[in-house]
Amino acid sequence: MSNQHHPDTGRSSWITPFNVVAFIIVLIGLYLTYLRFTGGLAAITNLDDNYPWGIWISFDLLCGVALAAGGYTTAAACYVFGIHKYHAAVRPAVLTAFLGYALVVFALHYDVGQPWRLAYPIFVQPGTTSVLYEVGLCVFLYLTVLFLEWLPAPLEALKLKRVRNIMIKLTFVLTVFGIILSTMHQSSLGALYLILPSKMHPLWFSSHLPIYFFISSMFAGLSMVIFESTLSHRWYHKKMDKEHLEGTPHVTFGFAKAAAWIMGGYFFIKFFGVVLNANWAYLPTFYGMIFSLEMLGFVALPALLYAKGVRTRNIKLIRWTAVLAVLGIIFNRFNVSLVAYNYHLPSEDKYFPHIGEIGITIFVVTVGLILFKVIGNNTPIFYEHPDYKGSH
């Protein structure tokens, strides 16, 4: 938590706008938690037998995991492909990803009916035929990997030199393992919908759904790193060391260029999805409009804007484009899970989130922001610890 120094008295205060708002949200979140675990899911959700999955899956799980992909992409760029100029971006990206995945697991405790049994699929009776088993196992393992990748930062702050040095040695192996696990679970989240083609609108269903989700997770992660960097530069500028500040333009332009390139490929594979399944006829329909909006306004447009930003060295354009790209990912995940799913149901049977679902989602994100603040303020994320300069 941060506090401000009063300009006149020099005394610091916990009453900052962020702290006040966050505190209120946490109080509401705790109350909603009480309602959830005394009244069941019905108390604070609009989930029903036709819509067993709502925004806690669409946003907290699907978007949460896609947007936390900055961890594996940044680590890959730096440690596997050897682009050392991105090094300063690794720790913030890993922290964002670690908190992202931790929050996904936290949010799942609200969504599943019996969260005290969440360990069962891994430790008691694995349902290995299920795509969801694969998602669960991978997320569990990857959360461990992210934790270990993040661990050197607090260890440095705690001055535990020997343990920290051991952890650093594991970086490459953890990075490779993390990329393997990320590929698997990012694609498996798409694969979740393969089992229900009869309930999906054709424009968002393809046997290539796993590939769509994996490829889009790449530019989701890259865009989130740019977005997070924008916010961090606003609030943590004082904490950033020379390496971080000098590296930022490289990261911004490099990631924007990479994202633009990947989005191009993604656009075409989605296009081929329409071609291969002969789904042209669906384009001039209501759902076709949504699909076209998603592809043109939230994939093609940000890709071209990223390209323009790189060509004209325009950091501001790139930063705003990152917001558009992130919104595009959210739009896509919502389209797959709530628009395309059960599209054929009459509108009176359709689902809209309960205010309680929105409340918990905001609560979960706020907890993440609070943790990011605490960790960012107290561990070497935006700067290199003086004792360990250059040693990673």
Binding site: Y120, I180, L192, I195, S207
Partner: protein, 356 residues
């Protein structure tokens, strides 16, 4: 060779011969890759529902409610008002009868009973990440309330929209659906709904028997039936089969589900996962090795030019060049030329000064 070694050799030879024999015999069991199949469950129990015979009395719903100890329904079983809209299963309603013609509610002639289809290859079982669903060999698809985590993926997966959930319960919410009265099947008794039906709209026997009975009825009364046994192949086949006098869409049954079992849709994607485990290390470490090699050669090139310059013009010039070259990834040829020229100019200026 001593005796022990000899016996050992004989023993080894004998085992090898026996092993080889087993291997060669196993060869005979091999079938072509495309023919891989499963035995099936033709003797599992099945129910044949005949829409011609259903009169919409809903006694089956009543019997199910009683047999399963379910709470009081929201609307009484004798209240024909329920037919005003199409219902689906819910947490306390494992089976429902809907009316499918335009006649006044309860005064119709076309009704159909909905309940779990007890599929041969259940989507719920395939999708459950904790194996809470099982396809028993007696035909029932069962649910293990002790394992269920409440993720509700089964509800997403079921193409017939059968499983319901106890959203209003916090302590032990469960997924609910028809159990095929397995507690009765174990005693070779027919399910409660089948037993109570006054018009014998449901017939009970093995799946093979029910298919034969269905075919027999179609042959004997072709005007009374659409020539299709619903559930024979749909979603890989189901143990609850249907006959209808009208096209099945008209009694609320989808004809576009296909014959592929739900698990077949995901099996391929899941099969790709091990490939990633094996191949990603190859690609990633390969990329790393290539990147490292490029770095190494680039450094060697830089060092070569720097040491050349040191030899020609002394350590100071070399240090300056090293600093400039370290700034870019690619070999900055322009920088090299410039530094060399500068160093030579300096050297020339120096000799000139010394000459004076």
């Amino acid at each position: 060779m001593n005796r022990r070694k000899f016996l050992g050799a004989v023993g080894a030879a004998g085992l090898t011969v026996a092993g080889a024999g087993k291997v060669l015999a196993a060869d005979k069991q091999v079938t072509g890759a495309s023919i891989k199949g499963v035995k099936g469950l033709p003797d599992s129990y099945a129910v044949l529902f005949d829409c011609n015979r259903c009169i919409g009395c809903r006694q089956c719903e009543d019997a199910c409610n009683y047999e399963q100890n379910l709470p009081e329904p929201d609307v009484d079983f004798w209240d024909t008002g329920v037919f005003e809209r199409r219902r689906r299963t819910d947490w306390k309603t494992y089976t429902i009868v809907n009316q499918y013609d335009d006649k006044p509610p309860g005064a119709g002639q076309l009704y159909r009973k909905t309940q779990c289809m007890h599929c041969m290859e259940p989507a719920c079982a395939s999708s459950c990440f904790v194996r809470a669903f099982a396809k028993r060999h007696d035909g029932a698809v069962t649910y293990d309330a002790k394992m269920c985590v409440g993720c509700r993926y089964c509800m997403m997966a079921c193409p017939f929209n059968i499983p319901a959930y106890e959203y209003h319960i916090a302590s032990d919410p469960l997924v609910t659906k028809c159990t095929f009265c397995e507690h009765r099947l174990e005693k070779d008794e027919e399910p409660a709904c089948v037993e109570i039906c006054p018009t014998r709209a449901m017939e009970f026997g093995t799946r093979q028997e029910m298919l034969r009975e269905a075919r027999r009825r179609i042959v004997e009364k072709p005007d009374s039936y659409v020539e299709h046994i619903y559930g024979e192949h749909e979603m890989g086949g189901t143990n609850w089969l249907y006959l209808s006098p009208v096209p099945f869409e008209q009694v609320g049954m989808r004809m576009d589900l296909g014959t592929k079992a739900a698990g077949e849709f995901t099996s391929g994607a899941l099969g790709g996962v091990p490939l990633i485990t094996a191949l990603w290390p190859v690609f990633l470490v390969g990329a790393y090795a290539i990147a490292k090699r490029k770095e190494k050669y680039a450094k060697e090139d830089r060092d070569k030019y720097v040491s050349q310059l040191i030899a020609q013009a002394g350590p100071e010039a070399g240090r300056r060049l090293a600093e400039r070259l370290s700034k870019t990834e690619k070999l900055d040829k322009a920088a090299i030329e410039e530094e060399v020229r500068k160093a030579l100019d300096e050297a020339a200026a120096k000799t000139e000064r010394e000459g004076h």
